[in-house]
């Protein structure tokens, strides 16, 4: 008897997810290691200024954090982070958004950066230290956020959730970790039309 189609679709998705994870890790490593490289997307200071980040804050942040920035907008624009708050930066990358959040929360606040890439977490911690900021970095996936229930005042994220095959689960996880009355401010890529199967099946296009 042949395998059921449902199982075969699940297998296919699992394999695609594994490829996607590898491609995302490779792409973001490349941005961090070769910030002058040629990518499909704007990155670094050029991108941050384009999205409205305050140039004075970019001057104050560790140059490596700014050069490796690969977001798609400015989640701080409407995050209303205040002193003493607990902030989650989901997909914290090289740390720029976490650094800005840490400056806003001040010493009585707490910023948690979650990323699936251990090398990137290390970079974020170093960049935070060099910027006079504090980010607690935690390795984990956005589909299983390593953060306690009802513990976060504001969750920010920048160009990350679109990379997941399980967006419903990611959003449920964000809901779980937020305190009642807590909020999200996330920038991400959305598509008005269903993407073609050739795009969906190409991890390089997903990651870019």
């Amino acid at each position: 008897m042949t395998e059921t189609p449902i199982r075969s679709i699940a297998d296919e998705q699992e394999s695609l997810e594994a490829n996607l994870k590898d491609e995302i890790l490779r792409m973001y490593d490349e941005v961090a290691e070769q910030p002058d490289g040629d990518f499909h997307f704007y990155h670094g200071r050029d991108a941050a200024e384009r999205f409205g980040y305050d140039p004075a804050l970019l001057d104050r942040a560790a140059p490596g954090a700014v050069a490796s920035f690969a977001g798609v907008g400015c989640p701080h624009e409407r995050s209303r982070v205040e002193e003493g708050m607990t902030v989650l930066d989901l997909g914290s990358g090289a740390g720029l958004d976490g650094i800005l959040a840490s400056w806003a929360t001040g010493p009585s606040g707490h910023v948690i950066g979650v990323d699936m890439n251990p090398a990137m977490l290390q970079r974020a911690a170093l960049h935070a230290e060099a910027s006079g900021a504090r980010i607690e970095v935690r390795e984990g996936r956005m589909e299983d956020i390593p953060v306690e229930d009802d513990s976060v005042d504001v969750a920010i994220s920048n160009g990350v959730i679109n990379l997941s095959f399980r967006k419903r689960r990611v959003l449920r996880e964000l809901f779980r970790v937020l305190k009642p009355g807590g909020r999200i401010s996330i920038t991400d890529i959305v598509s008005a039309k269903q993407l073609s199967q050739s795009i969906v099946n190409d991890p390089k296009l997903w990651a870019s």
């Binding site: 989640p75 959003l171 959305v190």
Partner: protein, 49 residues
């Protein structure tokens, strides 16, 4: 995404298009426009109860 946020339980979901977003590579930008790809800033709240 808007609907997914509401389904997850979020309330007061709002979205605004990020005006400066575009791809560097013109070919990628053209494809993105054909699919209506945009960068969007979403805000939403978890209800008190």
């Amino acid at each position: 995404m808007f609907a997914l946020l509401e389904q997850a339980g979020f309330r007061r979901v709002k979205s605004v298009v990020v005006p400066g977003f575009r791809f560097r590579n013109q070919g990628t930008q053209n494809s993105a426009e054909a699919y209506g790809v945009k960068a969007v800033l979403f805000t939403a709240e978890k209800p008190m109860e």
